[in-house]
Amino acid sequence: MSSRRGRITDEEINELISKLQALLPESSRRRAASRSSASKLLKETCGYIKSLHQEVDDLSDRLSELMSTLDDNSPQAEIIRSLLR
């Protein structure tokens, strides 16, 4: 930021936090959206990212299992392609 280097004012932080809250529909929908405290919001964001990572890991686990059956039958791949379009 051009005004202050090295230390952002609290007001700016609050502004950015509210911007983040607006940009994250999921993040604000989980709670009552009244938790405008910056610290809580950041913590929730971190937790949310971690849970998303975990979900992706679980899904890739499942996908790798399912993929082994896919390799045996190549026509299935085309079916799946058409399913996803």
């Binding site: 983040l20 899904l59 993929m67 996803l84």
Partner: protein, 205 residues
């Protein structure tokens, strides 16, 4: 982009349509040059389709079924496809691609030098690995907010040293992209599970 949506009576699709329309409105009203930078673009059906096809292509290359490393390779392929879908417009996507190419080059070099199967150091989260090596530079000098911001910077790849506002926008984009990744992978898993024939369990060679 006309919001011509197919008539699929799904709640998620309705939400997608609303998001897309909102995105379009801001698009035409706002700056034309900055199209598709809002995190809401990850909610459009088009992005979902693009990512799904990329994911499918990437997964074809992953000869899965080889055991414990398969899930990790799937995860890495999914992350790479996600980063490519971002079209280089966000810092985290560039970092993911950089790390992917670097770790792959490293693994290749290791494999060439010594023919022993080199155990990759937790390739699941390359970003976490790189960030934990460089220890915390400043402790709680600022209030707890700085610590939380640091944690956020560790979670989002390639955003450790970012100033606060940029970190927040990167994080929001990253979260939206992750949500789409989850949706796409879940849909793919569901499709695979329904399509998978009633064949006996595959015998690993």
């Amino acid at each position: 982009m006309a919001s011509s949506s197919s008539t699929i009576p799904a709640a998620a699709d309705e939400r997608d349509r609303k998001r897309k329309r909102a995105g379009d409105e801001t698009e035409t009203g706002g700056v034309k040059g900055r199209r598709q930078e809002a995190p809401s673009r990850w909610r459009t059906r088009r992005e979902h389709e693009i990512y799904s096809s990329k994911l499918l292509d990437a997964l074809r290359l992953v000869r899965a079924g080889r055991g414990p490393s398969a899930a990790r390779e799937v995860r890495q392929a999914a992350d790479r496809a996600l980063a490519v879908a971002a079209r280089g417009r966000s810092r985290w996507s560039r970092a993911v691609l950089l790390l992917a190419s670097r770790s792959r080059a490293r693994a290749h070099r290791v494999r060439l030098s010594s023919r022993a199967p080199a155990p990759q150091p937790q390739g699941r989260r390359p970003s976490m690995d790189a960030s934990t090596s460089s220890s915390v530079s400043r402790s709680s000098s600022a209030p707890a907010l700085a610590r939380k911001a640091q944690e956020l910077g560790r979670l989002v790849p390639g955003c450790r040293k970012l100033p606060f506002p940029a970190l927040l926008s990167e994080a929001s984009d990253y979260i939206a992209a992750l949500e789409m990744q989850v949706r796409a992978m879940a849909a793919l898993a569901q499709a695979l599970a329904s399509v998978a024939p009633s064949s006996p369990s595959p015998s690993p060679s």
